[in-house]
C-alpha cells in the first residue's frame, strides 16, 4: 500500500511539473514548486516506511521548513525586488510592470 501511495505521489509530481514548466505567470510556477515540495515531503516519509527505516521522517521535517522559507524568499523577491539585505530600501517598486512578462 505504501508503494501505491508513492506511485500516486509520483503521478501528482509529474502533473505539478507540467504546470511549473508551462505556467503563464511566475506565481503559477511558485505555486507548483510549493506543491512539489509538499509531495516530496510525503515521498521521503513513504520511502522510509517502504525501506524499513522510518527515521527518514527527520529529513521530511527539515524539507518542510526549507520549503516554507524558500517559498517566502521567492515571494519577497517578487514583491519588493530584493531580499531586504540593503538596509530599509526594499520597497514595492518593480512589481507594477510584472504581469506581462510571465
Amino acid at each position: 500500500m505504501f508503494g501505491l501511495a508513492l506511485a500516486g505521489c509520483g503521478l501528482a509530481m509529474i502533473l505539478a511539473l507540467i504546470r511549473a514548466a508551462k505556467g503563464p505567470t511566475a506565481f503559477d510556477r511558485v505555486l507548483a514548486v510549493n506543491a512539489i515540495g509538499t509531495i516530496i515531503i510525503l515521498g521521503v516519509a513513504l520511502h522510509g516506511f517502504i525501506m524499513g527505516r522510518p527515521e527518514f521522517v527527520d529529513i521530511s521535517i527539515l524539507y518542510a521548513v526549507l520549503n516554507f522559507i524558500g517559498t517566502f524568499a521567492i515571494l519577497k523577491l517578487f514583491a519588493t525586488g530584493g531580499l531586504g539585505d540593503r538596509g530599509g530600501n526594499a520597497r514595492i517598486t518593480a512589481s507594477s510592470d510584472r504581469p506581462e512578462e510571465g
Binding site: M1, F2, G8, L15, N34, I41, D58, I61, L75, S96
Partner: protein, 168 residues
Amino acid sequence: MSMDLFLPYLSGFSLAIGTLALVVGSLGLIRLPDVFSRIHAVGMMDTAGVGFIVLGMMIHEGFSLISVKLAAVAVFLFFTSPIATHAVAQVAHKSGFSPVATGAATSAKKVARKKPARAKAKASTKATPKAKTAGKAQTSKTVTVKKAAKKAPKKATKKSTGRKGDVS
C-alpha cells in the same frame, strides 16, 4: 484483538484517500484557469493529501517517536501551507492580477482599457434616435448625453489610477 486485524485496512484506506486527494489536487493545478483558482487545488493537496497520508502512516506505525515526528510534520504543514498560499495570492494581487476567470491570466490593465470604449459606444447609440426626433428638446438631451460621455471616461481613469495606487 479484532482491532489489530482492523488497523492495516484502516491504514491502507487512509493512504488511498490521501493519494486520491493528491492526484485530484494536481489535476486541478493543471486544469483550472487562473492563479487564484489554482490556489484552491494546492490547498486541497496540502490539507487532505498530507493529512490522510500522514494519518495512514501514523496508524501503521502505532505509538512511537516516529509517530510523534509524523504528527509534527502534519501540524507544521497544516499551519504553514495556508500562510504560503495566502502570500502567493497577496503578491499576485499587488502586482496587478485580478481574480477574473474569463481566460488565462487576465490583468487589471486590460479591463481598465476596455471600459471607456464601452461607455462611448453606449452614448452614441443613445444619441442617434434622439437626434432623429428633433424639436426643442434635442439640444438639452444632447447636452446630457455629452455630460454622460464626459463622465464615463473620468470614472474609468479614476478606477485605473486607484489600481495603480494599490500597486505602488
